[in-house]
Amino acid sequence: MAKITIDGIAYEVDPKLTVIQAARDHGIKIPHFCWHPKLSVAGNCRMCLVEIEKMPKLAIACATQVAEGMVVKTQSERVQKARNAVMEFLLINHPLDCPICDEAGECKLQDYTYKYSIGYSRFNEDKVHKPKRIQLGPNVMLDVERCIMCSRCVRFADEIAKQPVLTFTQRGDHVVLTTFPGTQLDNPYSMNVIELCPVGALTGTDFRFKARVWEMSSTESTCTGCARGCNINIWVRNNEILRLTPRQNEEVNSAWMCDFGRLQTFKDVNSEKRLSGPLMRKEGILSSVGWDEAIAAAASELRLFKKSEIAGLGSAYASNEDNYAFQKFMKDVLGTKNVDFVRHLKEGDEDAFLLRADKTANTRGAEEVGVKPGEGGSNIDAIIQGIKNGSIKALYALEDDIAAIPEIAGVLSNLELLIVHSSIQNETTAAADIVFSSSTYAEKHGTLTNFQGRVQRIRPAVVTLEQDRALDGFAMSRWDKFASHNDRWGRPIKKDARPSWRIVSAVASAVGGKMKFNSADDVFREISEKVQAFKGLNYQKIGNTGVMSKTASRAVPVV
């Protein structure tokens, strides 16, 4: 350990650290643009200049290693003057188009201008003009005038995404960020440069000009794009998800997420094809019905079959709570042992970084909470076989478009009863007798277990008729009241959807079983009592970054 002093206070720090790291570890923020804890040191922005005793010049905190006895000043007059100077330099050629800039509100340059700049400009010359609206790749747009040449995006492409296509050309204040000829920024992680970019130079083709940052609320959640379960924030305005951003979790996704997860996973939540309220087949046509009618019908229909004639498919897309309640309903209430779920492995579609071959969020959780055949019961293959040969007559399927799978699609017409939970219209709902409109991952509380065995939270970011926004995650938006009780202005569209655990509990009760769950928390409490993997866990312990389930192996690959 090295003894150093920062702003008059003594600290013992790891001698391998740089000044900026040591300061950060002790809660001292040294302003910076180009430095990023996940990237190599570039030292180009000069914002982190600090005074170090016995050094004649100011030193950049990001590239200066601590040393025994070092005395660092981060607030001295010289330091503040240097920061003023760097800010002034950065702003002279900046377009200052904050009023139409997506970054405004979460812009380092803006924030630091308030904190570290002199507050007026001495620049009386013409600004340098540079290219705007450059498509760097399918998902990322560049405005070179806003770029402060920090090289974070370049280093991300080189070091993290391993697709070294970004570079600077030209010199001086004419430097232009660009892609090498014949290349584009199209790696599976390309959009991470958008958050990395400290200004509004890099924006998402998808989100550009959609919203001001302060109009949205953000909710901590987990991406459902694959079994990695990258930690995310869901950004919502007027009850519509507008973007997802990665949230740091060293054990899972570092600070990144893939473009697929970012762009595709919320499309279903906002989809035109969303179901609102249950459906029942009447005279051959699926028609809207009330919840009570659908629940009663499901119960009475199910009662017509022998235990062995019923099969249940949980879902790797559904939460632990949903799957637990579902298997309990199947096994304890209906008494069938024919319980399983469909795996969605896309072999070869994984990589050495984040992406997993398993394209669902909760395969491991579904298995662990008990979505598997009871003793002597049928697994997925046997269930398909049973439907084919007529021994299985009724199928209850959770949150998975099973009809899109050819082997299953071919046998569904043999069924006498098909009950389905789904949030959108799909091939499975089209074949169903009863459809319950279930909440998406963005509309309910719950947990998912990723491939490592890490149990992570999902939270309602979007309001349904039944469920308010997660209030614990209340973030920054002055429009946070949108879609809440006290929202007198917004007219958000609220979907009539319920979480699957609530729906199956209701059907179970209607069948005459005892399943009294009032909240996802209730379900989880029972899981934590009954299932070894979850022993001792609760939502509080899981918190924002998750905890390992008890069955997880110790060796966890960390990115």
Partner: protein, 437 residues
């Protein structure tokens, strides 16, 4: 512009050139050998490498690339035990305005440079050297390539040289026209095929240089001094010129002089003597308004400030400037200094690599403000603004180009403030004062 022996040195001892002797055809390897060439290298090969370094250290040779850094000391920074490759880069990027001395070596004494390179490599245990030459020097690149081929042909370069264990390969690397690639770490990036961006230091090149390996960078003229030291011994060498900054030095004189050119002389010659005796004085016997003594980055001196200022590190420092590359730019009494400074500012603006904020943004700003002075459109407060911008760049950048851009501005304002004041818009008159151009 060939080297020339001054004829009118007012009773001073005749100076016999060491780096640029007037021997005809010295660039040919046979001529070079017949005049004692490569003898110093052979002598070095009989010494221990440490002894060679020690000799250079004791000679007090200081770098001719701009910073006057002690060469022998620099060589000792190279790790002796290392599993990595080691490199020598000989810096011939020579792009600083007012500097054109290394070119003379390429043209008139290329084998001296090759011999120096070999000795330096032997002293530091380096098997590979790059001679980096600015791309615009197409003619001199060719000449160096020819000389190097001859040196290979004679067996002075290559494997197991002269039957000894020592092997050394030398490569000539062409620059692509960027001043910044003369900065040692940008030079290494350039050789590596990367963008010519200076690196953040530390780590210094001796730890982490070319391809991450220990590397020494020396100027062409610096290296060309080495055979002279080895041949004649450190004691002899250290008695040439100014004791703390000894040796022959190539002074490039340009601007308002009758005989511009590169003059070899011992260090420590008074600037006025260089101008009047060596470079033939100022045309029309005009007075000297200003002198930039060591290449465009060094601080300008007033003409009335030159008395007793000599071309050596200490004397220049005391006068408030630096030897730099000894590129002396003379400006007579009719010179428009604002125009000169604006042109210099444009150069630094054009050459800033654009990597770090203060230099990238500040150099352009300085130039734009100066343009307004040039056009009589500046305001009085713009003088202090210029000073402030320069101060905000100086010391806050990745490499010394930022400083180099700031110093001329600072010095010019400090020493010629009246020139700026004359160029300010006159609120009442509305017409600028006329200024001789």
């Amino acid at each position: 512009m060939t080297s020339q022996n001054p004829t009118e040195t007012s009773g001073k001892t005749q100076w016999d050139n060491l780096i640029l002797p007037s021997t005809p055809n010295l660039h040919k390897v046979e001529t070079y050998i017949s005049h004692g060439g490569y003898e110093a290298f052979k002598k070095a090969l009989e010494m221990k490498p440490e002894e060679v370094t020690d000799e250079v250290k004791k000679s007090n040779l200081r770098g001719r690339g701009g910073a006057c850094f002690p060469t022998g000391l620099k060589w000792t920074f190279m790790p002796k035990q290392t599993t990595k490759a080691k490199y020598l880069c000989v810096n011939g990027d020579e792009s600083e305005p007012g500097t054109f001395k290394d070119r003379q070596i390429f043209e008139f004494n290329p084998h001296l440079l090759i011999e120096g390179t070999l000795i330096a490599c032997y002293a530091m245990g380096i098997p590979t050297a790059y001679i980096y030459i600015r791309g615009e020097y197409a003619k001199w690149i060719k000449m160096m390539e020819l000389a190097l081929a001859d040196a290979y042909g004679k067996g002075f370069v290559g494997e197991k040289i002269l039957g000894k264990e020592f092997s050394c390969n030398i490569y000539i690397h062409k620059g692509a026209g960027a001043y910044i690639c003369g900065e040692e770490s940008a030079l290494m990036n350039s050789i590596e095929g990367e963008r010519g961006y200076p690196r953040v230091k530390p780590p210094f090149p001796a730890q982490y240089g070319l391809w991450g390996c220990p590397t020494t960078i020396n100027n062409v003229e610096t290296i060309s001094n080495v055979p002279i030291i080895i041949k004649n011994g450190w004691e002899w060498y250290s008695k040439i010129g100014a004791p703390k900054h000894p040796g022959p030095i190539l002074v490039g004189v340009s601007g308002h002089v009758n005989k511009p050119g590169v003059y070899e002389m011992p260090t420590g010659i008074p600037i006025l003597e260089i101008i009047h005796r060596w470079a033939g004085g100022v045309p029309g016997d005009k007075g000297i308004k200003a002198v930039i003594p060591g290449g465009s980055s060094t601080m300008v001196l007033r003409g009335d400030q030159l008395e007793g200022v000599k071309m050596d590190a200490d004397s220049m420092k005391a006068a408030g400037s630096a030897v730099g590359t000894a590129g002396l730019i003379v400006m007579d009494e009719d010179t428009d200094l604002i125009k000169v400074l604006t042109r210099l500012a444009k150069f630094y603006y054009h050459e800033s690599c654009g990597q770090c904020t203060p230099c990238r943004e500040g150099t352009g700003w300085l130039w734009k403000v100066l343009k307004r002075f040039e056009k009589h459109e500046a305001r009085m407060q713009d003088i202090d603004l210029l000073m402030d911008i320069a101060n905000n760049i100086e010391g806050n950048t990745i490499c010394a180009l930022g400083d180099a851009a700031a110093w001329p501005i600072q010095a010019m304002i400090r020493r010629f403030r009246d020139e700026f004041e004359k160029r300010v818009v006159h609120a009442q008159a509305g017409t600028p004062e006329s200024v001789a151009v």
